[in-house]
């Protein structure tokens, strides 16, 4: 089966979520990958959205974090102060799953502005739940398309601190941070991608692991599950 680089990225991200884990999910690419994981190897994955829906089991991919589908299929729906104070800050989340507009070599994330803060060239949506997701979940996975515009150093604005970012999944491969090390290292390439492509898409001198791996391509089961997620919403992400 043929597949796109975006599909490879989503499948690779989904594989990082284990069955039974509790995952605080950002909207967009993270939500798509988390829902794919729940439909394939991790049916017991608990999806938590910042709208206060805990254990959501959407039958189709939600467009927003507050779609009725999430509330109607959730184990519990709690208020926004409760989701942030009792559930996220309290450390009840195994994994945080975030997107990013820009990321740097330490995993710090910018979702606020490109250009100077007072006179931005691009005004981005802002922090949302990301700063606390990034610092309260036991580990953080970031999914972002890799390009010189997204992989930058220094960031224009540090919106979220990347200390707990363990893995970054891109359309070219995966970067990881070993415990104790500060910088993300390219550890895996998707089929068809090369170290040169990854270096060209990175705004700093990219570290590459000695034992660089290759991501297994998506299986037929994974692709079928991914494509069965509502196409209309997928096209927008």
């Amino acid at each position: 089966m043929t597949y796109s680089t975006d599909e490879m990225m989503t499948v690779a991200a989904a594989r990082h979520l284990a069955n039974g884990e509790v995952c605080f999910v950002g909207i967009g690419l993270p939500s798509r990958a988390a829902n794919l994981a729940r439909r394939t190897h991790a049916p017991g994955l608990v999806l938590v959205y910042e709208s206060g829906t805990i254990g959501a089991k959407p039958r189709s991919l939600p467009l927003s974090i507050g779609d009725g589908e999430l509330a109607e299929t959730a184990d519990a729906v709690v208020s926004v102060p409760e989701i942030f104070n009792y559930w996220l800050q309290a450390g009840r989340m195994d994994v945080g799953f975030l997107g990013a507009a820009q990321i740097d070599r330490r995993g710090d994330i910018n979702t606020t502005v490109v250009g100077p803060y007072a006179k931005p060239t691009v005004r981005l949506p802002g922090a949302g739940g990301a700063p606390e997701i990034a610092t309260s979940c036991r580990r953080v996975i970031v999914i972002v398309r890799q390009s010189p515009r997204t992989f930058v150093d220094p960031l224009a604005f540090r919106t979220s601190v990347g200390d707990r970012v363990s893995t970054v999944i891109t359309d070219l491969g995966e970067l990881r941070r070993e415990p104790g090390s500060e910088e993300l290292v390219l550890t895996c390439l998707h089929p068809g991608a090369t170290v040169e492509m990854a270096r060209a898409a990175t705004g700093w001198t990219l570290l590459v692991a000695d034992d660089l791996g290759e991501t297994p391509p998506p299986t037929a089961v994974e692709l079928e599950a991914l494509r069965s997620l509502r196409p209309a919403a997928m096209a927008l992400h």
Binding site: S51, A76, F84, R123, T135, T159
Partner: protein, 273 residues
Amino acid sequence: MAVLTSLAEAITANVGDGDMVALEGFTHLIPFAAGHEIVRQGRQDLTLVRMTPDVLYDQLIGMGVAARLVFSWGGNPGVGSLHRFRDAVEHGWPRPLQLEEHSHAGMANRYVAGASGLPFAVLRGYVGTDLVDHTANVAPLACPFTGERLTAVAALRPDVTVIHAQQADRAGNVQLWGICGVQKEAVLAARRAVVTVEEVVEELQPRPGAIVLPGWVLSAVAEVPGGAQPSYAQDYSTRDNAFYEAWDVISRDRDTFLGWMRTHVLDLVPSTT
């Protein structure tokens, strides 16, 4: 004590020029009809407050009613940018928009402090981010027990909070359910509160996870069926995702935007039920 009134009268009586106004809602139950009435009544120089300013705030900002925005995430969820918001911030059109931005947890706790009648709330957050450099309403605070560095966020006290709910009874007690966001805290933090509801019923029936706001914490209640569209009211309507996608096109161009607002907001007479 809440009075049952028309939407127009509720806005006239409770929203003034220069006010700090929170039209809250977390994707669900966004008070679009009330926001449109604020535009029709020509309010100016508002400080708009909202955790998640989306299409309604894009409309208000594009119509120039806001001087300032206090928020934590401004976008069209799942679709992309808010073009009117970006135009105001990046190009000052139709007027410059001053920003004060926070994280969701920070905003939620600012409302909690306001609702609790306390000057500030305490959380773990903001540390290491650049957010702290751009507002005076976030300050480091040493824990008097452990000495660890926490973050204090100043209480948020809007002049008026506006929300949409499913039901009210004739005494003005309001019940909302489904995704409840931060509406309870936003109402209790505000000096005045206006609620639009899908329907006025004889008796409020208990619902799983529902929030009941007694009439005596509200200023005005107006029956506005469909008042959250294109957002939604669980068990009454579904989110019009196609409109949110269409808004991306409508809002890109200033004239297209103004034309849409004229036809769909300015030229409409509000419901007077």
